[in-house]
């Protein structure tokens, strides 16, 4: 790795943070436009937005302006400070996730030693914001939505972390760059041509991770916290204008981050077969490769979202505790045995 920019720590960090601040809203815009607008319309035999700009791509700008124009309403009975703080906490959790997501050998805000563990930890902070929003709205539907969200997120965080453990055992590191390196230098039956993407050896973990991520992101079929036919809108029922926009951005930003985590842990991340793991050219090509993989994973997330109906609350809890967690534990045991034997 050549030190192209030998800047002091604080300058480097502020540049990276500035970049991240631009990247995060952009990523959620890409997901909303590609999947929520275009793919959903296509799957439901509708046209979707097609008037504003080429293929309706400027529709999002119009939406953003609409949200910013709306009045910022505080319900009279609401706990004002907590009500205002809640969307910020949810968005902060999303921002913290992006700190560790790598897009190249050096293209990462901070290459933390605890990598994927850190990502799991900060992603659990969003529950706190959702509970705050549900309680502070002084609305029984909002409170029900908040409680449902908390129950669901606690239940699905466990299989998520346990599924990740299989990958960590195989890669022998929690560092996300280390996991990519382990896949790039790995071999399948002695052939190291495409490395060893962990989706091959950890397919069970991949399935569990994707299902649990779907629930963590509260996407259908796990969208009981916002179920509009039962709870009108769940925890963000009382939010208007840009505070609603914050929740919306956090939802899709987190979806992007989880898709990125999945592509780092199971699909080989930014590595391109044939290149050295630390070659500088990957800093330029890597983000493109990552984006392609992330969009592929996100496609599956939204494909499921637009296809399946909502589960029932008790089915959801049973599925997590009786199916996913035992399966994830079995996966850890099998991975551990293989690690020791081979």
């Amino acid at each position: 790795m050549i030190e192209l920019l030998a800047l002091p720590y604080w300058q480097e960090t502020s540049i990276k943070l500035g970049l991240a601040l631009v990247v995060i809203p952009t990523t959620s815009l890409i997901l909303v436009y590609l999947f929520l607008f275009k793919m959903m319309a296509f799957m439901q035999s509708r046209l979707g937005p097609n008037e504003t700009g080429p293929y309706g791509s400027l529709q999002l700008i119009a939406e953003a302006i609409k949200f910013l124009q709306k009045e910022d309403i505080n319900p009279a009975q609401a706990d004002r400070r907590v009500f205002r703080l809640a969307p910020v906490v949810v968005l902060a959790s999303t921002f913290l996730l992006y700190v560790v997501l790598p897009a190249g050998p050096d293209a990462v805000v901070q290459n933390l030693d605890t990598g994927v563990f850190y990502a799991m930890a900060v992603s659990s902070l969003s529950v706190l914001g959702i509970l705050m929003a549900g309680w502070a709205s002084a609305n029984k539907y909002a409170l029900l939505g908040g409680l449902r969200a908390a129950g669901q997120l606690i239940a699905y965080e466990l299989p998520l972390i346990l599924a990740v453990m299989g990958v960590v055992i195989q890669a022998e590191t929690m560092n996300l760059q280390g996991i990519i390196e382990a896949q790039a230098t790995g071999e399948i039956f002695g052939i190291g041509l495409i490395g060893n993407p962990f989706i091959l050896t950890q397919f069970l973990a991949f399935l569990i991770f994707m299902i649990a991520a779907q629930a963590e992101l509260t996407q259908t079929p796990f969208d009981m916290p916002v179920a509009e036919t039962e709870l009108v809108g769940g925890y963000h029922i009382e939010y208007t204008g840009f505070r609603f926009l914050l929740f919306f951005m956090a939802e899709f930003g987190t979806a992007f981050a989880f898709a990125a985590l999945a592509s780092v842990m199971f699909l080989g991340g930014w590595w391109i077969p044939g290149f050295d793991v630390d070659s500088n050219i990957l800093n330029i090509l890597g983000p493109g490769v990552m984006l392609g993989k992330i969009l592929l994973v996100a496609f599956f997330i939204f494909w499921v979202r637009f296809t399946y109906p909502r589960l029932r609350e008790d089915q959801l809890q049973k599925f997590a505790w009786k199916v996913l967690i035992p399966l994830a534990l079995v996966n850890i045991v099998i991975t551990g045995i293989f690690k020791v034997v081979f």
Partner: protein
């Protein structure tokens, strides 16, 4: 080390303020949220002490799981918005006295034991792998004892919660 000391001071201020507000506020949910601020601040202090794994665990276990369960429980049972008078009981002077005494004991033992130790710049940073190695070699017996204790608590909880 100047930047670290400034950050330490700022975070300590936030933690002490939140801890005081936690016991003086008249709303139970606010109290829980101030506790979250205290725990988050402590996690920040761990980062300053180069204990990254401990800091992350603090966030995952205490904020992501314990505090969420606290809030979940409070909101399921009784959590009115606004001030409620019964939050501060009549025994608060006794509780404050006990807290002060406990604080004095901990402070004394810490200063007595580690008061002259100084963190050196560029000293050994314990990475996650080192923590794992230590836990499974030097501290294997306490680790296993805690594991058994937690397992017993887990089974006890299931036995208590079973209806039949």
């Amino acid at each position: 080390m100047v930047a670290q000391n400034i950050a330490f001071g700022i975070i300590s201020g936030i933690v002490v303020f939140s801890a005081l507000r936690m016991v003086t506020t008249r709303n139970i949910v606010h109290s829980a949220l101030f506790l979250v601020a205290v725990l988050a601040g402590l996690s920040g202090q761990y980062v300053l002490l180069a204990a990254e794994f401990v800091a992350t665990t603090q966030v995952l276990v205490y904020i992501g799981a314990v505090m969420v369960l606290f809030l979940f429980g409070i909101m399921l049972t009784k959590a009115p918005i606004g001030k409620s008078m019964e939050m501060t009981g009549t025994q608060w002077p006794i509780a404050a006295g006990v807290a002060l005494m406990l604080g004095a004991v901990i402070l004394y033992s810490l200063i007595d034991q580690f008061g002259s130790d100084r963190l050196t710049e560029g000293g050994k940073i314990y990475r996650t792998a080192d923590v794992g190695d230590e836990v499974f070699s030097t501290y294997i017996i306490p680790f296993e004892a805690i594991s058994v204790l937690l397992l017993a608590a887990l089974i006890g909880a299931i036995v208590l919660a079973r209806k039949d």
